[in-house]
């Protein structure tokens, strides 16, 4: 029953409306508690945070840190691992490799070292859920979870074709429970299956997905509806069709409109905001303005940005045709996988170059999203790690958002045509510390439906990051002074003091048990594995925590 008091810190907690006010934070048993009413209460330990900035731990709501595609990417890039500084073993921590796809233990250490204490993998095929949980088991300190790929699932598409909403909802609930996943993810809905069947990718929401007799529009609407009906803590998480293609903003706009008010999260929206013609790289342009207007005006929509950062990284996606496209464009090595009945996968190394017009535009388009979005509670900082860059580049992005002069300086150094094609040069907005706290913690926690994350109010998990204020924001956010996880000091000045096991968040929505035998019948006809080996049981989650549906206690 230890009692910890963090004294005199400048607390930045937008949920409580605190913007740098000097406050004490009280912690008992890993949770934040209200300051004791009786002044005679003495804490067991006091942490002096005088002059320091105190925030909740960061929450990364969309990254790729576990499962088969991440593992393949690690194996696929020995040339990068060879040069990247390794994580050395200490008496308390294990060794690991870094680069754009760090090894499991290194991922946990590096996230925590950055002041991030929660991270969600964004794309796990249910068939690979067991593998993903095993990797998360070896990803220490941070709390984590993953989203389950359903946008190209055969059973899902069959229910949509037959118009059986109830059965779809029960299946989605059963599948989330079987995978011990957290949310429903749709990646290039319909397009991956269409491409896998050899018909090429879909081009818009109303292209038919051959053989299944559905359209991307139907998949998006029905999955969003199912997630909503199940009152999942996080709504449908959509990776729109046509990622990365010039002119794809129309598809993104159509996706927003197709939702017709249903809640949904559009992820790495930067990659979906491009103007220009498909065969003309010179016409590539930003179409953030019309899209951000829709997001600004519609409370049901949230986005994360998927910011591009210049440098070498690895693209990994459940969007099989996208992997193929990137391989064609870059000429780099390519991995493609077909997860039977469920999903696809593409992995390609990519280097974003500041002197490339396309790459510099992608960089500017991401920043346009941050600067034009009016409500910071509905936009989240992400790089789609490692697709746009690694999570270790978040401090650099924060620097770009907080310091317009620095932003202009970088803008001057990139491909000159960006000045003409992007409105970035005219945007003078500077993010405040409080807004940074929103887009890196409070908003993602709220969008994920995690009530105990992203704030420092009573009842919150005591995941706390303490920064030394510095006008050099990259420096300030790269090296927090202290990071606490569940009330325990984990990082001091970049040194990992302890590496406990974090939680794995999952959901277990109710479904009709009677339908399971029908799912089993279908499953045994189509899958290569036994039904009994499919569902992941609790043993795979060393510290599982089931998050209740919305509206329940």
């Amino acid at each position: 029953m230890s009692l910890l008091q963090i004294v005199n810190g400048r607390v930045v907690d937008p949920v409580q409306g605190l913007d740098g006010e000097v406050r004490d934070v009280w912690i008992r048993d890993g949770k934040i508690i209200p300051p004791p009413a009786v002044p005679s209460v003495r804490p067991d330990r006091v942490l002096d945070a005088s002059g320091l900035v105190v925030m909740a731990g960061g929450v990364d709501m969309h990254c790729h840190i576990a499962g088969p595609k991440v593992n393949v990417a690690r194996k696929m890039r020995p040339e990068e691992k060879r040069r990247a500084e390794p994580v050395r073993r200490t008496p308390r921590t294990r060794s690991g490799t870094t680069g754009s796809v760090p090894s499991t233990f290194a991922t946990g250490y590096k996230y925590t070292g950055l002041g991030y204490t929660t991270a969600f993998d964004a794309a796990i095929p249910p068939l690979a859920a067991r593998h993903a949980h095993e990797e998360l088991h070896d990803t220490p300190i941070i709390d984590k979870g993953f989203f389950v790929l359903m946008g190209n699932n055969h059973y899902v598409m069959q229910q949509i074709r037959s118009g059986d909403r109830a059965r779809l909802r029960h299946y989605v609930a059963w599948l989330l429970g079987a995978a011990k996943g957290y949310a429903v993810k749709a990646v290039n809905p319909g397009g991956v299956e269409e491409w896998k069947a050899g018909h090429g990718n879909v081009t818009g929401l109303d292209d038919p997905v051959e053989h299944f007799g559905v359209t991307p529009r139907q998949i998006i609407v029905e999955l969003a509806q199912a997630a909503s009906d199940l009152r999942l803590p996080h709504p449908l998480h959509i990776h729109c069709n046509n990622l990365g293609l010039p002119g794809n903003w129309k598809t993104t706009l159509a996706t927003m409109e197709a939702l017709e008010g249903r809640r949904a999260h559009l992820t790495h929206v930067q990659f979906h905001s491009y103007g220009g013609g498909p065969d003309d790289g010179g016409s590539f342009a930003s179409r953030v303005a019309p899209l951000v207007d829709v997001v600004n005006a519609h409370e049901n929509l949230t986005v994360d940005v998927g910011q591009v950062v210049f440098g070498d990284t690895t693209s990994m996606t459940g969007d099989g045709p996208l992997g193929y496209f990137l391989h064609q464009v870059t000429g780099r090595k390519w991995f493609s996988a077909d997860t039977e009945n469920e999903a696809g996968c593409g992995i390609v190394p990519i280097e974003y170059k500041d002197h490339s017009f396309i790459h510099a535009m992608q960089w500017a388009i991401g920043l346009e999203w941050f600067l034009l979005a009016r409500d910071p509670w509905r936009i989240v900082l992400s790089t789609d790690h490692p697709n746009g860059g690694t999570f270790l580049s978040y401090p650099q992005i924060i620097h770009l958002l907080m310091e317009p002069d620095y932003r202009r300086e970088v803008l001057q150094s990139v491909h000159p045509r960006v000045m003409k094609r992007s409105v970035l040069k005219d945007l003078d907005r500077a993010y405040s510390l409080s807004e940074i706290a929103i887009i890196t913690r409070a908003a993602p926690a709220r969008i994920l439906g995690l009530r105990n994350k992203g704030h420092l109010g009573p009842g919150a998990d005591a995941d706390i990051t303490i920064y030394t204020p510095d006008p050099d924001r990259t420096k300030m956010f790269s090296l927090p002074r202290i990071v606490l996880k569940d009330g325990e000091v984990i990082v001091e000045e970049g040194q990992i003091r302890n590496a406990p096991t974090g939680r794995t968040f999952h959901v277990a929505p109710a479904y009709d048990e009677k339908l399971v035998s029908e799912i089993q019948e279908w499953f045994e006809e189509h899958y290569t594995i036994q039904f009994a080996n499919y569902a992941v049981d609790e043993h795979y989650l060393p510290r599982g925590e089931c998050v209740a549906s919305l509206g329940s206690k």
């Binding site: 040339e79 990068e80 060879r82 780099r332």
Partner: protein, 278 residues
Amino acid sequence: MSILLRLRNASPIPIEAECLSPDRLEGLAVKEIERLEVDHGNERARVADFFEVGLRDGNEAAVIEGDCSRVKHIGAGMTRGLLVVDGNAGMHAGAEMSGGRLEVRGNAGDWTGAEMRAGRIHIRGDAGHLLGGAYRGSRTGMRGGVILVEGSARNEVGCSMRRGLIAVRGQVGDFPGVSMHAGNILVGGLPGVRAGAGMRRGSLIFFGETPGDSQRQVELLPTFSYDCTYRPPFVSLYLKKLQSWKLSLPVPAGEGRYRRYSGDLVESGKGEILVWQA
């Protein structure tokens, strides 16, 4: 004066000794060299644990004596000076070097001169696999410089090489010039199977055919197409240059003609294989 390192404790466990390069040894006293760290299996050790360090007359930066076939990374990353291994050298000798000269009087291990950028490696004996090659996952192998081998070399000589020259007096194993982007590989003997597989540009030149002997012919992949028989002038220039480096291929410069094949047609088809015929 040059530094002399004499191997006295040969170990069956490999020693990783990146410090054995002119750049690292230059200006150090004997005592300091003895204290340099090396990896011995999974343990840290010092140069003095394995080598007797001294000085000798000569203009080499350093001479390493003994059978160093279990000593890895000799001369790796070197940028200047002359380093002589009077004996065998282990894996990765001269890997990623960007200048200077490395001479191995015995045999050299795998990955010799891997991803080197400039400089010259001269091996009196045989070389291992992936001579001047690319490390796994890398896009390019050797990017410049010269590798000379008086004996033979094994598989994947010049894998993914982008520039530079490799000359092997004897045979080479399978896949010479696999996936090469550019550069020249000259082979005095015969290659193993699948020469130039996946090559995009560059020249592979084989001098080892014996007319009338069906066992001693160059066998090419079906994705190389015959163009013509001619005498490209650049080959004679290369042979003369090799002679100035004291490497003579078993062919009189300026004589004979070459069959030219284009390939690999599964890639751009802009590479060439030249087969010398007397």
